[in-house]
């Protein structure tokens, strides 16, 4: 079996490449940051003490407002140092203008101006140059709202705490029944993140390793090494050696990613994200499916990439034709959002059973809900059949196309080659 030598060559050359080492370690970082960065940004607290000048035309809101701003920074210091700027109903505009000048000079960070009409719906203003933190604005709004509500209710003789209790809102929590039958809290955000990471990794792996195969064939073709190879190795051994060798390199990369993933999901990441995204629940079996769908998807698409490599004379040729193969993988990627809303609809089930879509979409469905085992098995079965057909087709076109140079063949010629090889 000379496929072994071809396989070993493809494997060692693939994992020795600089690009392999870089992507193996950079991609997980990028993927992790997709999950972590938005959360980090959202929860990022201002690190500086913010100086606030409160100009209050009513005269009786500012003290309660300031009293409510008791937030502290991580280091225990107060987040805000509010000052009530003395003013009167008549000098309000003038004082307000004066404080704006103070912001310009840098003597204070924010001016919060509360007009007389605040009780009847007039807007207060938050004036700043640099403190554009939305969280701070929201914090002020809430504090001011509380004070104004309290005063309005008091004017009507109502008790604020009592009204607040009575008008407390209702929350509906998302729950899902798992495969084991237990009911678990689910978060759409967390799930979207997980599905996105897995599907993107699958897509990029299948695509980039498929391209690796196409490139390696174009190289052998361009340098005529292929003639030497075919004078001693059968096309079948050559194809199998390449598929397995390059596939194993991809498998190695995914193995490293899976290990990193298990460490992260079992360790630091959930702690960091749990509070914000809800439980990040990735059962280890998901990783198993992940690797399996990579292998299946790779075999299917690599066979097609081989055909492209075999019929192209230059790398540019191959690049242009790659779109044809990449397109069927883009469809599930683009419909992913829609798909996630209702992963069990007839449409979704049908799409996930369509072999070119199966790796990405069945993977997504497995993460979102546990599809019936027969659907998973059917998906795998259909893929295996398609792979067999694709590899057979590739082998036949390969044998003829690989020795052709120059003009790219038309579809009719491809069919002709296929028949010839038979």
């Amino acid at each position: 079996m000379k496929a072994v030598f071809v396989m070993r060559r493809e494997y060692t050359e693939a994992i020795r490449r600089k690009a392999f080492i870089i992507t193996t370690f950079v991609v997980p970082i990028v993927m992790a940051s997709f999950l972590v960065l938005p959360v980090l940004f959202a929860t990022m607290e201002p690190q500086n003490v913010v100086r606030v000048a409160v100009v209050d035309q009513t005269g009786n809101i500012a003290p309660q407002f300031v009293a409510a701003l008791t937030d502290t920074l991580k280091n225990g210091k107060r987040s805000f140092t509010p000052t009530i700027v003395p003013t009167t109903a008549a000098s309000y505009d003038e004082t307000r203008a004066g404080q704006i000048e103070a912001v310009k000079r840098g003597d204070t960070d924010i001016v919060l101006a509360i007009p007389q009409g605040i009780m009847t719906g007039e807007k207060a203003s938050y004036i700043t140059r640099e403190q554009r933190n939305y969280n701070v604005l929201q914090r002020f709004e809430k504090a001011l709202n509380d004070v104004v509500l309290k005063q309005r209710l008091a004017a009507e003789g109502l008790d604020y705490e009592r009204v607040k209790d009575l008008t407390a809102g209702v929350t509906v929590e998302m729950n899902q029944i798992t495969a084991a039958g237990s009911v678990e809290k689910k978060s759409f955000m967390a799930e979207y993140g997980v599905v996105f990471v897995f599907v993107m990794l699958l897509y990029t792996s299948i695509q980039s390793w498929g391209v690796t195969i196409a490139k390696s064939i174009v190289e052998e073709k361009g340098s005529r090494i292929i003639e030497v190879l075919l004078s001693t190795v059968t096309p079948r051994d050559l194809i199998i050696g390449k598929l397995v060798g390059v596939g194993m390199a991809g498998f190695t990369q995914l193995g490293i990613w899976t290990l990193l993933g298990l460490v992260l999901t079992g360790g630091g990441l959930p702690v960091l994200l749990a509070s914000k995204l809800g439980a990040l629940n990735v059962p280890p079996v998901t990783f198993l499916y992940f690797v399996m769908f990579f292998v299946l998807g790779f075999m299917l698409f690599a066979a097609l990439f081989m055909v492209i490599g075999a019929v192209s004379s230059t790398e540019q040729d191959a690049q242009q034709m790659q779109v044809l193969v990449t397109l069927p993988m883009l469809v599930p990627l683009m419909s992913l959002m829609m798909f996630m809303q209702n992963p069990n609809s007839a449409m979704a089930v049908g799409m996930s059973l369509f072999p070119p879509f199966t790796p990405l979409l069945m993977m997504a469905r497995i993460i979102l809900l546990t599809p019936p085992m027969w659907q998973i098995l059917l998906g795998i079965g259909l893929m295996l059949v398609t792979i067999l057909i694709a590899v057979t087709f590739a082998a036949r076109v390969f044998r003829v196309g690989i020795l052709m140079h120059g003009k790219r063949p038309s579809l009719r010629e491809l069919v002709h080659w296929y028949r010839m090889a038979g």
């Binding site: 030598f5 050359e13 490449r17 190289e219 340098s223 090494i225 003639e227 030497v228 004078s231």
Partner: protein, 301 residues
Amino acid sequence: MQPAVEIHDIVKRYGDYTAVDHVSLNVPAGTIYGFLGPNGAGKTSTIRMMMRILLPDEGSIRILDKDLATVNLDRIGYLPEERGLYKKMRLLDQMVFFGEIRGLPRSEARNRAGAWLERMGLADRAMQPVEGLSKGMQQKVQFIATVLHEPDLLILDEPFSGLDPVNANVLKDIILEYHRKGHTIIFSTHQMDTVEKLCDHICLINKGRVLLEGTLASVKQRYGKNGVSLSFTGDGTYLHSLPEVASYQDNGNEVFLRLKDGVDPGRVLDAARARLSVTRFELAEPSVYDIFIEQVSGDVR
């Protein structure tokens, strides 16, 4: 002794074009066999059919006394016309790979590759990618990769093209070394001086047909010795129309004339001296070059 290669009446067509047109030839075992012909003569197509890369439309090929379908191709070493190696692959790994796919055990391939690299003065670059080597070096490396498994039959398509004289000489020495060990070597070329020095058998093909085949000596004998080579100053084109001259070939610094049967060379010398200042005049057998030119330019089928 069985011939190393027997080709019987093969035909290869590409669409309407017939690249190889009923070619038959025998390559005796242990010879250096020169496969000559101008560009597009059908040399590469014939070689590719020997290597089972192309299938002949008609005819049969036997190699090393086996039918082509059953011959162990690992007993053959093949250097394709256009050269190439894996650019990014390390030199040693590359040679070991080519040895391995031809059936050498890994350790043996490694030892032999190491020895060859040592001999070629490339030992210190064994762990470097091939792309850093000069073109001539790469050609030598590829040649070594072709012979690493010590094949019984070596088929080289234009092995000397693009090599400088020093490297060509290195290659020639290796070919002779293999010849002495009893291996059969077939190579295609249009460098006639190499053929003259190296080959014991030649085959000249043109437009897909064999024009001449046999030992170098027999081919030359068929041409006879009635040739003269002369150098002179002046315009010698009129020699062409002398009644004694069968063919005229201007090689630049000399002119080769083939004389009609039974003609006295002295009469040609007189005719030449009548109008030219002759500096050299010698009776000669035709060189392969002369035969090649005469045959190919006369072949207006």
